[in-house]
C-alpha cells in the first residue's frame, strides 16, 4: 500500500503530486501489478484533501494505462514502471553508484552531483535523437571499463 | 415531539426536582401547622369571632392567632411564586438558548421550532400550573379553619386574594409566559430575569390597584347618626354621606365625630351615612378579574413568542 504526502507549498497541483507519487512507487517497485491503491476515502481522511482530487489523480493514472478500476473492488495497478535497468542489481545502477562515489571522492557535494546530472541530461537531450543512444552507450562503456 | 419532549425534560429536570422538593417541604410544613391549628381551636366556638365583630373571646382569639404568622408566610411564598417561576423558569427557557447559541443546534435538527417550543413551554407550563395549584391549595387548606376570623387573615388580604385560588395559577402562567417572551426579546438570561421580575411585579401591582374599579361595592346605608353596621368579613371601600336626593358626598366634607359631626351633617343637609363594602362573595369576582387578565396576557405573550420565533431572528 502507498501512503500519500501532500505538500501544499510545493506549487505542484495536488492531483499531480498524487500521480507522481504513484509513479515513483511503481518505479521503485513499492507498488506492483495487482496491488490495490487506497480508496479515495482512505486517502482524503489521511491527507485532508478534496476527494475529487484523488479521483482525478486515479483517472489520470488510468488514462496512462497504469491502473484500472474494478467496480466494487477498488483501483488496481496493472503495469509496473520498474525497469530491470533500474533494479538494485543492474549494471547501469552499479555504474552510477561508482560514479557518485568517485564524484564524492573528488570533493563534489550532493548539490553539485545533482546539478551535474541535470546538465548531463540536458546535454544528452540536446543531441540529435538518432545519435543519442549509441553515443551514450559509447560513453558508458569506457567508463565501466575504467572502473573495472 | 417525543425528541423535543425528551430534551425539554433533560433541560428542566433540575428545576422540576427543585419544585417537587419545595412543594413536598411546604406540604409537610402546612400539614403539621394545620394539625396544630385544628388541635388548638378544638373545643372553641369560632362563630363568635367570624368577621370583625369585636366580641371574640380572648381565649378563642388566642387559640386561632398562633397560626396567622404561618399562613401569612405561606401566603408570601405564594405571592412570590409567579415572579420566581417567571425569572428562573421562563426567562432562561429561550433566553439561555439564545445567549449560548445552542438554539442554533436545536433548531437545525429535523424537528422544527414549533415542536421544540411546544414541548419546552408545555412542560414548563404544566409544572408551573402544578406547583402554583399545590401552593394555592395549601394556602386555602391551612387558612380555611380560621378564614376571615377576627384580626386574622381575611379573604381580601393579598396572601389569600392574590396567592390562592385560580388567579394564583393564572398569575404563574402569565409570569412564565412573560419570562419566556422577555428572554426571547432580550436574548440574555440575566437581564431577562430582571426585566421579568419588574414586569410581573408591575402587573400584579396594577391589578391590585385597579381591579376594584371594575366592581361596584355594596352600599350599606345607615340613616342619620345611627351606629354603623359592623363590617363583618366584608372589605371596606370607604364612606360617603347621603343627601335626601340620594346623591353621595365624600367623607372629607365632615371629618368629625359626636356633636361636631351632627352639626356638620346638618349644615350640609346630609341625612345618612353610606358604607361602601365588598362582601366576601366578591372574592370570586376579583379572582375572576385577575384570572381573566392574567390568562389573556399569558395568551398574548405566548402568541407574541410564537410569532417572533417563526419570524426567525435566531442567528
Amino acid at each position: 500500500m502507498i501512503e500519500f504526502q501532500v505538500d501544499r507549498h510545493s506549487g505542484v497541483a495536488t492531483y499531480l503530486q498524487l500521480v507522481n507519487q504513484v509513479k515513483q512507487a511503481l518505479r521503485l517497485g513499492v507498488l506492483e501489478p495487482g496491488d490495490r491503491l487506497p480508496t479515495a476515502r482512505a486517502v482524503v481522511e489521511a491527507t485532508a484533501i478534496n476527494p475529487n482530487t484523488v479521483l482525478k489523480a486515479y483517472r489520470e493514472l488510468e488514462r496512462e494505462g497504469l491502473v484500472e478500476p474494478r467496480p466494487g473492488q477498488g483501483t488496481f495497478v496493472t503495469r509496473s514502471l520498474s525497469r530491470p535497468e533500474a533494479a538494485a542489481d543492474s549494471p547501469l545502477r552499479a555504474d552510477l553508484v561508482d560514479w557518485v562515489t568517485r564524484a564524492h571522492a573528488a570533493g563534489l557535494g550532493r548539490e553539485d552531483v545533482l546539478a551535474l546530472v541535470e546538465a548531463a541530461l540536458a546535454e544528452a537531450a540536446a543531441r540529435p535523437r538518432g545519435a543519442a543512444r549509441p553515443t551514450r552507450a559509447g560513453t558508458e562503456r569506457p567508463s565501466r571499463e575504467d572502473t573495472t | 415531539m417525543t425528541g423535543t419532549l425528551w430534551l425539554a425534560w433533560r433541560q428542566q429536570r433540575l428545576l422540576i426536582l427543585t419544585a417537587a422538593l419545595l412543594v413536598t417541604a411546604l406540604t409537610v410544613w402546612v400539614a403539621l401547622g394545620r394539625a396544630d391549628l385544628i388541635e388548638a381551636i378544638s373545643g372553641y366556638d369560632l362563630s363568635q369571632c367570624k368577621g370583625w365583630n369585636g366580641e371574640c373571646p380572648p381565649e378563642t382569639y388566642g387559640a386561632m392567632t398562633e397560626s396567622n404568622g404561618g399562613i401569612r408566610l405561606l401566603g408570601a411564598i405564594g405571592l412570590a411564586l409567579p415572579a420566581a417561576i417567571g425569572m428562573f423558569w421562563g426567562a432562561p427557557l429561550i433566553g439561555r438558548e439564545l445567549e449560548s447559541g445552542t438554539i442554533k443546534v436545536v433548531l437545525t435538527q429535523d424537528s422544527g421550532v414549533r415542536s421544540w417550543f411546544a414541548a419546552r413551554f408545555g412542560l414548563a407550563a404544566l409544572c408551573a400550573v402544578t406547583v402554583s395549584t399545590a401552593v394555592a391549595a395549601l394556602i386555602a387548606w391551612w387558612w380555611a379553619p380560621i378564614s376571615n376570623m377576627y384580626d386574622g387573615v381575611y379573604w381580601h388580604d393579598p396572601y389569600i386574594l392574590n396567592a390562592s385560588g385560580p388567579s394564583a395559577v393564572a398569575g404563574a402562567l402569565f409570569a412564565l409566559a412573560a419570562g419566556t417572551a422577555i428572554g426571547l426579546l432580550v436574548r440574555r438570561t440575566l437581564p431577562a430575569m430582571g426585566a421579568t421580575l419588574a414586569v410581573v411585579l408591575a402587573v400584579a401591582a396594577v391589578l391590585t390597584y385597579f381591579r376594584r374599579d371594575f366592581v361596584t361595592p355594596v352600599d350599606r346605608i345607615t340613616p342619620g347618626m345611627q351606629p354603623k353596621r359592623l363590617i363583618g368579613s366584608a372589605w371596606s371601600a370607604g364612606y360617603r354621606y347621603l343627601t335626601p336626593d340620594g346623591a353621595q358626598h365624600p367623607l372629607e366634607n365632615c371629618l368629625f365625630s359626636g356633636e361636631q359631626l351632627r352639626a356638620c351633617m346638618d349644615g350640609h343637609g346630609f341625612v345618612g351615612r353610606v358604607h361602601k363594602v365588598y362582601p366576601s362573595s366578591d372574592f370570586w369576582t376579583f379572582q375572576g378579574i385577575d384570572t381573566t387578565v392574567y390568562l389573556l396576557l399569558a395568551l398574548a405573550l405566548v402568541a407574541l413568542t410564537t410569532v417572533r420565533l417563526r419570524g426567525r431572528r435566531l442567528g
Partner: protein
Amino acid sequence: MNDPTAEPALRATAIGQRFRGNRALHDCDFELPAGRIAALVGPNGAGKSTLFHLMTGLLRPTTGEMRVFGAVPGTRAARTRTAFISQDKPLYPQFTVAEMLAVGRRLSPRHWDQAKAERIVGEGGISPKTRIGTLSGGKRTRVALALALGKQADLLLLDEPLADLDPLVRHEVTGLLMAEVADRGITVVISSHVLPELENVCDHVLLLQGGRIRLAGDTQDLREAYTRLTGRADPDTPDGLPPGADRAAVVHATTTGRHLSALLRNAPGTSLPSGVDEHWITRAPSLEEILLAHLRSAPRNAAHATEAAA
C-alpha cells in the same frame, strides 16, 4: 459528474439582509451545484455568518430568496437535509457527550447514524460519559462534528469550523470531513477567513466582501479565467501595463520600481488577457492570488459596508 437538471444545493437570489437599518448583505446572487465543496471566504465581518444563518433558516432574508435543494430554509424539507455547525460550536455544557449525541438522535431521527457519531467521538479519545463543559476546544469541535455528521444531511454548513484548532486537530477534522464527502457525495459549505487552509479542500469558492459576493464559481474555472502578469513595467504607460492591455480586465496591479505585478481577466475564450503578448511572464494564478487581488481591489465604500455587517 452532476446532473445539470438537478436542483442546486443552494440558490441565492438577490439576497439582502438588514439589521436595524444596517445592511449586512446586499444583492447576493449565487448558485452552488450539489456535490461541491465550497469555500466561503472573506474578511471578518463580511457577512459570512449572516449568510449561513440564511441558509439554515435561522434568519429570514429581508429581501430576495434562498433555496436549499429547492426548498425554503427552515422548512421541514430543507431542515432534514441540512446540518449546521455555527462558529461558536454551541453545545450544552452540562450534558454528557452521550446526551449531546442523543439530542441529534432524538431530534433528527430520520437518517441518524449513531454508530458513525459514536465512532467520530471515540476516535478523538472522548469518553461518552464526559461532560461537554470539561472538553477542550478541539474535542468540542469533534462532538459538534459528530452531531452534524451523524445527522446524515445532504448539505453540510460549517461556519469557521477550523478556527481555534491546532494544526494537528485541524488536519484530522478536515480529513474526517473529506472522508464523509468521499462516502456520501454531500455538498459542503465551509467558511474561513484564512483561504490557504481550504485551498486543497474546496472545488468551489464564494468570496464575500462588505456584504457582497465578489466572486463565485468553480476553482478550476476561476484559475483558468485569470492570468498573472509579471515583468518590467512599461515606461510609456502611467500604470506600467502593456499599452494594448484591456484596462477593464485588470483586477489589481502594483508596480514596485520597474517591476509590475498584475492580475488580469482573460479575454473570453482565450487563456490570455487581450492585449498581452508573450513578452510578459504570464502564468495561471493560484486561487489565493485571485482572491487576494479581488480583496485588494475593494471599492472605496467596501470598508464602510464591512463595518455595517460586523
